[in-house]
Amino acid sequence: MEHHSILRVVSKLLIPPILLYALYVQFHGEYGPGGGFQAGVIFAVAFILYALVFGIEAMTEILPPRLLLILSATGVLIFAGTGVVTMLLGDAYLGYNALAADPPHAQEWGIVIVEIGVGMTVAAVMMAIFVAFASHNPPIKDEDW
């Protein structure tokens, strides 16, 4: 892989904008197209691109499979936990109106929080599945590129 300098330079240039774009899609989902599902996939793609070019070990160093599993479960817990919190605050399960004084604000808070949970789960799941596949594969031979 050492001599694929174009691939390495281009992906190094591309990965930061991809991550930024994922965050934009995540937190701009209330205003434009997008949301947790799309943002999670785009976020995962940045890491997958990194793993494809620099090797799977370089990625699992920062994101070990165990951490990915914990993150994906945390996302589900954030979503489901929001419902429990709204119940404890006296509203229905996932009835966000209890989260703030006036309903539109409370709804926006609720949506932002559960979308973070969605994004976290989707990103971690996509990366975990990719790592599960890729760590079984022999590294791609140079002549196969």
């Binding site: 434009g32 165990r66 994906s72 539109p104 949970g117 969605v118 799941v125 996509m126 599960a132």
Partner: protein, 194 residues
């Protein structure tokens, strides 16, 4: 018919034409690598179709998930298995018959559907007007899709997230990629290579 509608019709026809061509190519090819890439192109064209239907959120998801990540996962699967499809040994007539009958039944089913885009379709008169009218009042965010997804239909979305999580659990159970079992799996894989 206005120029805009003609333009959309031309784009729709072109997109559907490409979809059919890609489907035929996928059916005829034996190289699974090429098939995986063509499936990605198929998803990207479908995303284009969703854009012409003004379904931006769906198009976005289709482009990111269908064309992006599934292609990568498909290629990962190919690297685990083989790159060439096995030659077909059975006669193609029974599958062709099944496809023809299913397709005919589906087309027959569409005859009962309300006209495409009509204002009095059930989809336009059921809960959709309520969501569109009340989203600015009750939720206060501009994107009605996000409001329906995360608030009005929050239970469904929670279910979807659990499904995605379950997919990861299933893959990790099958391939052994998570945490301690992952390291064991890797050691076993390395031993096999030796």
């Amino acid at each position: 018919m206005s120029a805009g509608l003609v333009g959309i019709a031309v784009i729709d026809i072109l997109l559907f034409l490409f979809l059919v061509l890609i489907a035929i190519a996928i059916a005829r090819l034996r190289n699974l690598f090429a098939i995986a890439m063509l499936a990605g192109v198929f998803s990207l064209l479908s995303a284009g179709l969703f854009v012409t239907l003004d379904a931006m959120d769906v198009a976005f998801t289709e482009a990111a998930v269908g064309a992006g990540i599934s292609t990568v996962l498909m290629l990962g699967t190919l690297a685990l298995t083989v790159r060439e499809e096995k030659p077909v040994t059975h006669s193609p007539f029974l599958p062709l018959l099944v496809c023809a009958i299913t397709g005919a039944a589906l087309i027959y089913g569409t005859l009962d559907m309300p006209p495409f885009g009509a204002a009095d379709n059930p989809v336009q008169t059921h809960v959709a007007p309520y969501y569109l009218e009340q989203t600015p009042v009750e939720i206060g965010i501009p994107n009605a899709v996000a409001a329906v997804l995360a608030s009005y239909r929050g239970f469904d979305t929670l279910g979807e997230v659990v499904v995605v999580f379950t997919a990861a659990i299933a893959v990790l159970l099958l391939l052994g990629g998570g945490g301690r079992s992952g390291r064991h799996g890797k050691v076993a894989g390395e031993r096999k290579k030796d």
